[in-house]
């Protein structure tokens, strides 16, 4: 995309250091991105990837370090400056107005009226050229997540970038959308736009990227060619420990009684742009893990809330926990009949970040662990409960008095999963068990879920991560457009067959009673 004959690397960063209060986020980090290269930035949560990227995009100013961009030493002042230099970024969370059209959204991101001249034609041209089909007049609200991502990419490409930064771009895509994205990215790289690709999906990095910089605890630990390493080797460099795969579990005996039954669960979403749940019927036995796959925004959060009792079902019988009709019960009553829940969002939903771990242990644990006496909080017992979670789940923290927000994402997730698992539920529902969690913590969470199922609980995991579902689940259903497909045995399913259902194309609507064979 740039006409000048290039020489030398596109971007060289050396000695980048950024000190946050109480945390050295980047400690003399180096990064070199060559021209025409798709370069991966790998690391656990909290390894300092996002700080480094924010420095490149001008959001964060480094304390020390030198940036050489296109042969020139630069100080990147702000995102506008980064864009003028030719750096574009597609964030993990999109900034789009749901009620506006594609073209309107793109126009809003442009500075002056001059830039808007011929915008429509340019959108169409770029989207055709790079295999990013988009109708400029569609309203964003009606678009899939993959299409929304295309808007963000097109928005960046309009600026003729030399470097495109992509933050976890595939976490919201179906397998076929991922393949299409990769075609686009390879083509961009071939034409002179380097890509800095941030991901924790090691298989993808191996397939796509020609070089990878791996970070751990704010420092560089390696620069490798991903194709020359196995996924296991990459993961081990990333977290500096040996990984052992979870051992497969035997299937639950078919004679086990159902512990969680949904009968034609139908719920209107309370959110304006939410997804209504339609006629969901499922049955989970004790000892069984059911995985609900699906692309974000297809009713997962509504299903979670309907199961936890945050949204009440119309009929009590549409949600049965251990044979008790619970559709009309709130979360507190459902816990009393042995249901436990881990919502997707940790901050402000599963946990109150400004409260201590002990208070957060109390938040959902007080019912089942009897932490209240005569209306007064039993501080000693609460603290002991929190301490127990910290110990059993190896939560890295200073103790029960630490504020939840002082924990890294992975540690807080371990704490929240531990809080529910240690309540010994009969039914556990987890939405995105390892979202944004490092590999070590993810393994610990997976093992806890399996152990709980082995102990006789029925576990439902709702996840966008197909790998996770294939590792954990005995049976797999797909949620698309608020409907849930009939579960299939994991050993009979393939990534392709599940991926097709996730696209919503040939999803057979789940109707009527559904017992497994």
């Amino acid at each position: 995309m740039n006409d000048a004959v290039p020489s030398g690397p596109l971007l060289t960063m050396t000695g980048m250091t950024k000190q946050y209060p109480g945390c050295l986020a980047n400690d003399h980090v180096s990064l070199t991105v060559e021209r025409n290269q798709i370069h991966a930035l790998l690391g656990e949560n909290g390894a300092g990837k996002s700080t480094l990227v924010k420095i490149i995009y001008g959001v964060v100013k480094p304390d020390e370090g030198e940036i050489v961009w296109d042969g020139q030493k630069v100080t990147i002042q702000n995102p506008g400056h980064a864009q003028r230099l030719g750096i574009g970024m597609v964030f993990q969370h999109f900034s789009l107005f749901e009620a506006l059209t594609v073209q309107e959204n793109i126009a809003l991101g442009l500075g002056s009226a001059k830039e808007r001249v011929g915008l429509r034609e340019r959108i169409v041209r770029i989207s055709n050229e790079y295999g990013l089909p988009l109708d400029p007049d569609r309203v964003v609200h009606d678009l899939s997540v993959g299409e929304r991502q295309r808007i963000e990419i097109v928005r960046c490409l309009l600026q003729n970038p030399k470097l495109l930064i992509m933050d976890e771009p595939t976490s919201v895509l179906t397998p076929s959308e991922v393949r299409k994205l990769f075609v686009t990215l390879r083509r961009l790289a071939a034409e002179g736009c380097s890509i800095l690709y941030i991901s924790h999906k090691l298989e993808e990095v191996r397939a796509l990227c020609s070089a990878a910089t791996i970070m751990r605890l704010g420092k560089n630990v390696a620069r490798v060619i991903p194709a020359e390493k196995t996924v296991k080797e990459l993961a081990e460099i990333m977290i500096n420990m040996d990984l052992h795969a979870p051992t497969p579990r035997p299937l639950a005996p078919s004679s086990a009684p159902p512990r969680l039954v949904l009968d034609k669960l139908t719920i209107r979403s309370p959110n304006h742009f939410g997804t209504d749940l339609k006629d969901i019927s499922l049955s989970l036995k004790g000892g069984e893990i059911l995985g609900i796959a699906g692309i974000a925004g297809n009713g997962q959060s509504e299903l979670m809330d309907a199961l936890s009792g945050e949204i009440l079902a119309g009929k009590p019988e549409s949600v049965m926990i251990d044979g008790i009709a619970a559709g009309h019960m709130g979360p507190h009553e459902r816990r009393r009949i042995h249901g436990c829940f881990v919502p997707e969002e940790r901050n402000g939903h599963g946990a109150v970040t400004t409260m201590t771990l002990a208070e957060n242990a109390f938040l959902s644990g007080f019912t089942r662990r009897a932490l209240v006496r005569f209306g007064v909080i039993d501080t000693k017992k609460t603290s002991a409960f929190a301490e127990n979670i910290i110990k059993v789940f190896d939560v890295r923290t200073t103790g029960p008095k630490a504020q939840a927000r002082s924990l890294s994402g992975g540690n807080l997730q371990k704490f929240l999963v531990g809080r529910e698992v240690l309540q010994e539920p009969a039914v556990l529902v987890i939405n995105q068990p390892t979202w944004g969690v490092d590999a070590g913590a993810a393994l610990a969470i997976h093992e806890a879920i399996m152990a709980l199922a082995e102990g006789g609980a029925a576990v439902m995991i709702i996840s966008q991560d197909l790998d996770e579902i294939f590792v954990l689940a005995d049976r797999i259903s797909v949620i698309a457009g608020g409907r849930v497909s009939e579960p299939v045995l994991t050993r009979d399913a393939t990534v392709e067959s599940i991926g097709r259902l996730m696209g919503g194309g040939s999803a057979p609507a789940a109707t009527g009673e559904m017992e497994i064979a």
Binding site: G330, G348, A351, V352, L363, S406
Partner: protein
């Protein structure tokens, strides 16, 4: 140049130092204002904050003024911690006074052990009625309680004026807008004979301690705190928001009603058109100065009570207008909210040559 940067955590030191800094800044700023008005700054601050206490009955007067402020400030800190923004305690105070006072006027001959407890109940119920209406409007119609509670403050004030100048006016009062005096049996019991030091002065700190325990140690208080910090987490835990809004409005309204009843039975002895010199609004400052902690509200209430006395002294001794009290309180609230930036942030001096070297 001076840079503001995030600490990344909440400073324990500034949690307590920030109100002190706000006080110092308020003293300095009001001193400048007094200087601009041609009065010596030092003398004015002295007149405002110290002279009232040197009076013979200075501490009694302070306690009498502080009691209603503490009661209302405690109720407000509870409500604010739950994100229920009741700013109409002045109205709840007035309705409590009207309900309790009306009972005293209706039964002038009732014996004290019947009439006074009945008035206390009526006062609390009056405040709760006003607060409950606000809660109902928020829950039923999603009406913002900041607006409705404030509007109710005006409605009750006009109701008071109507009653005092109309049906309840003292027939022997020479046409003054006031009711008959309450019977002695209907007055608040005194802690010290022949003074205004009434039972409310004992009650206020007890209520503060009780509600502190409730907020920090009980399941109900925990629910308030979670609701205030993360609504979704409260829903996840199974706490019912509507129920908590009701309770917060009823408690803060009821306490304001009690404060109003004690004010008319403790110091005024009758209903007039101006029962409250803005106590309900000052209580908002009290709640914030006390860090929304019921125990912190006790010293905060004493301090703002002092500004009322100081305002009187400044009027009499220095010939300053009555508005100085409001100005002083307004500056204080401004600095209080402003200084809280130091909780999560710090100022750092970045020498400009360091920047050039980079």
């Amino acid at each position: 140049m001076l840079k503001i940067e995030s600490r990344g955590y909440e400073s324990r030191f500034w949690r307590y130092a920030s109100p002190v800094l706000a006080l110092l800044l308020t003293g300095a700023t009001s001193g400048l204002i007094f200087m601009a008005m041609g009065r010596p700054a030092g003398l004015t601050v002295y007149t405002f904050l110290i002279a009232p206490l040197l009076q013979q009955d200075g501490f009694e007067a302070l306690a009498v003024k502080a009691a209603p402020l503490i009661m209302m400030g405690v109720g407000l800190s509870l409500a604010y911690r739950a994100n229920v923004w009741n700013i109409g305690t002045d109205g709840q105070f007035t309705l409590g006074a009207i309900c309790g006072g009306g009972l005293a006027l209706a039964f002038p001959d009732a014996p004290s052990y019947v009439i006074f407890p009945a008035m206390v109940v009526a006062g609390i119920l009056g405040g709760m009625l006003n607060g409950g209406l606000v809660a109902w409007l928020r829950i039923r119609f999603n009406a913002n309680e900041i607006l409705t509670s404030l509007m109710f403050a005006y409605i009750t004030q006009y109701l008071l004026v109507y009653l005092v100048t109309g049906p309840w006016r003292d027939p022997q009062g020479f046409g003054f807008p006031q009711t008959a005096l309450f019977s002695d049996d209907a007055l608040a019991p005194r802690l010290i004979e022949d003074t205004n030091v009434h039972i409310g002065i004992l009650l206020a700190p007890l209520i503060a301690i009780g509600l502190w325990f409730m907020l920090e140690k009980s399941l109900l208080g925990f629910q308030f705190r979670v609701l205030g910090q993360a609504t979704r987490a409260a829903r996840f835990a199974g706490f019912r928001e509507n129920r908590l809004v009701w309770i917060a409005m009823l408690i803060s309204g009821g306490l304001a009603g009690l404060a109003g009843l004690l004010e008319v039975t403790g110091t005024l002895g009758q209903l007039t058109t101006t029962l409250s010199p803005g106590y309900g609004f000052t209580a908002i400052i009290v709640a914030f100065l006390g860090r929304l902690n019921p125990l912190g509200v006790i010293p905060a209430g004493l301090l703002l009570a002092l500004t009322y006395l100081g305002g009187d002294a400044a009027q009499i001794n220095l010939g300053l207008p009555n508005a100085v009290t409001g100005i002083f309180q307004g500056i204080l609230l401004f600095y209080l909210l402003g200084c809280d930036i130091l909780l999560l942030n710090r100022f750092r001096w970045v020498p400009s040559h360091a920047k050039a070297a980079r």
